[in-house]
Amino acid sequence: MAKNLSGELHVASANRLGDGLVVFLDDAGQWTTRLDRAALARDERAAEILLQRAQAEAFGVVDPFLVAVTESEDGTLEPLSLREKIRASGLTFAAIAGEAVRYA
C-alpha cells in the first residue's frame, strides 16, 4: 500500500552526460542508476533543496529535474507517472515479445 499518492515525495533525476542513462541523485551527492539509492525529499521545501543540490551537481548529467514518487511500506520507491516509471525501469515490451524476437 502506497503511503503517499499526492505527489509530495520527490527524487531528483537526470540523464548521465557520457552515456545518456537515467540517473538519480543519492544522499552523498552522487548520481546513481539505482532508484532505490535516490535521496528522497519528503516535502515541498526538501524538494526545492534537492533540486538545487541536483543543479549544483549537474556537471556530468543533463538537465536535472524532480520526479514525483510513491513509497511503499517496505520503502520501495516508484515514480508516479508512467513516463518516469519507464525511465526508471526500462523498456516494457520484452515480455510481450516472448519467443518471437530472436535477437541472436
Binding site: 552526460l17 545518456g20 537515467v22 513516463r83 526500462g90 515490451f93 524476437v101 535477437y103
Partner: protein, 557 residues
Amino acid sequence: MPDTHFYRYDDYDRALVAERVEQFRDQVQRRLAGELTEEQFKPLRLTNGLYLQLHAYMLRIAIPYGTLSTRQLRHLAAIARKYDRGYGHFTTRQNLQLNWIKLEQAPDAIAMLAEVDMHAIQTSGNVIRNVTADHFAGAAADEIEDPRVWCEIIRQWSTLHPEFSFLPRKFKIAITGSPNDRAAVRVHDIGLRLWANEAGEVGFEVIVGGGLGRTPMIGKTLREFLPKDELLAYLEATLRVYNRYGRRDNIYKARIKILVHEIGVEKMRAEVEAEYAATKDGALKLAPETIEAIARQFAPPPLRPKRTKVPEVEALKLENRAFALWLKSNVAPHRVPGHAIVTASLKPAGAPPGDASAAQMEGVADIADAFSQGEVRVSHEQNLVFPHVAVESLPEVYRALERLGFAEANIGKITDIIACPGLDYCALANARSIPVAQRISNHFAELSRQHDIGDLKIKISGCINACGHHHVGHIGILGVDKNGVELYQLSLGGDVDFGRTALGTILGPAVEADKVVEAVDALVATYLEARQAGERFVDTYRRIGAAPFKERVYGAV
C-alpha cells in the same frame, strides 16, 4: 548547370563528412569537459543526428532513398554491435535508429559510418531531410522511371544548401516513379510523382503541402506536369517562397502545409511560378549529361529474363501453405520476367515493428549477396526489401528468411503494423506504441486468418507528431495521455494509395490500453460480416460508413 553546384559523390562528400566528424569529436570533447553547456551543445549534436531520448542517446542514420549495399548493411550491424546493444530500429523515414549510443563514443560511431559513405547529417533540424522513395524503385514492374535518380539529384542540391539551412521548419520530400504510390507522396511537404503525358514525355506532378503530425493535410497539386530538367529550379522557387512566407512565430504553424492552407494553392502557385519565371533558365536547369551521369549510378543490374514458372517453386507451393501465402503477400512482380521483389517482414508475430538485430542485418546482407545483386532496400513500412531475386531462388530465400525470423507472410496484412518507438523510447511520447502493436500482432498471428482478412494497414503513433502515420492507417491508433493513463484513439479510413489518399476519421472516445485488441477485433468482425466480394477493409468502411463499426466497438469495450 555548372559543376560547382554538383559535387562528385565520392571526393566532395567524403571530405565534407570527414570534416564534420572531426568537428563533432571536438564539440563532444568540449561538452564532456564542461566547456560547452547543454544549451550550447544540443543544436550541435542534433545537427549530427544525435538525440537524447528517455533512456539514452539515439543516433538517427540517414539511408538515402532507402537503398543499402550489403557492405553498408554489414557495417551498420557492426556499429550496432560495437557501439549499441546489438540491434537497430528501421523507421518510417527509411532511416535506421540506434537507441543506446554513448555520447563519448558517438564520434567514433559516426566515423565508422563514414567509412561506408553514410552519415547522420540532416536527420534533424529545420532543413531538407532525407529524401524518401518507393522502396521498389528500379525493380517494380509498374515503374515508369527510377525515382532514386531524382532523390540523388535533390540530395546533392540540398545537402548543406546555405539558403535552406534555416527553414521555418523541417522539410520532407518523397518521390514515386510508379502509378502505385508506395512512397506516400501526398503526405509530404513536397511529393513528386513521375508520370508520362499524352505525348509520352515523362515529367513530375509536383504536390505540395501534405503532411501528418498535429495538423494532417493531403498535399495539393502545384504543377500538373513539370519537365524533368526543370526540377531543381522549380524546387528552389518553391522553397524560396516557403522560406519567405512560412511562419516562424509558431512552431505548430511553421510547416509548408499551413502556408499552403492559409494562402490557398492558387496563390501559392502564383508565387512559385513568379519566382520560378525569374530563375528557370539559370544555373539550376539540369543538363542532360548531368542527369545521365547520375542515372548511370542507378543503372539496373544486368538481369536476363528467366523462366517464370519453376517446378520447384510450384511444388513447394503445394506442400507448404506458409510458403504459398508468402508468395502471395511478400513477393511482388519484377520488371524483368523470371525475377521478383521480395519483402522480408520485420514484423514476426509479437515483435517490435522494424527492429533487427545485428545478426539479422548480417543475415539479410548474406541473402542479398547470394540472391539479390547485393542490394537491400528499407521501406517506409519498416520492412527490408530484396529488389532483384530470381523466381527460381525463391524457395532458398524463403528458407533463409525463416532462419532469420523474417519470413512472416504478412506484408500488407493486419500484423504488418507500422509503429513509432512511442513511450518506451521517445522523450516526446504520450503513450506506448510498441506493446500495442505486439498485442495486436500476437492476437492475429494466425496466417490463414490474416490472409482471409486481406489488406489492412494498422498504423500506431505514440503522440500527435504522427511518426507512426496513424492518420493514413486503414485503422489508425493514436496514443494519448489522460491524467497519467494511456488511452488510444482509433480512426478509420485513412489511406495513402494514389488517387485514394485520405485522412482517417476518429471513431469515438479513446479506449484503454488493454481494450485496444478487443476494439480492433470488433472492427475486423464488423468488416468480415459486411464485406462484399473483393472489398478490402477500407473499401467496406467507405461503403457502409462508421456507424456499424462504432456500435460494435463501443458495445465490445
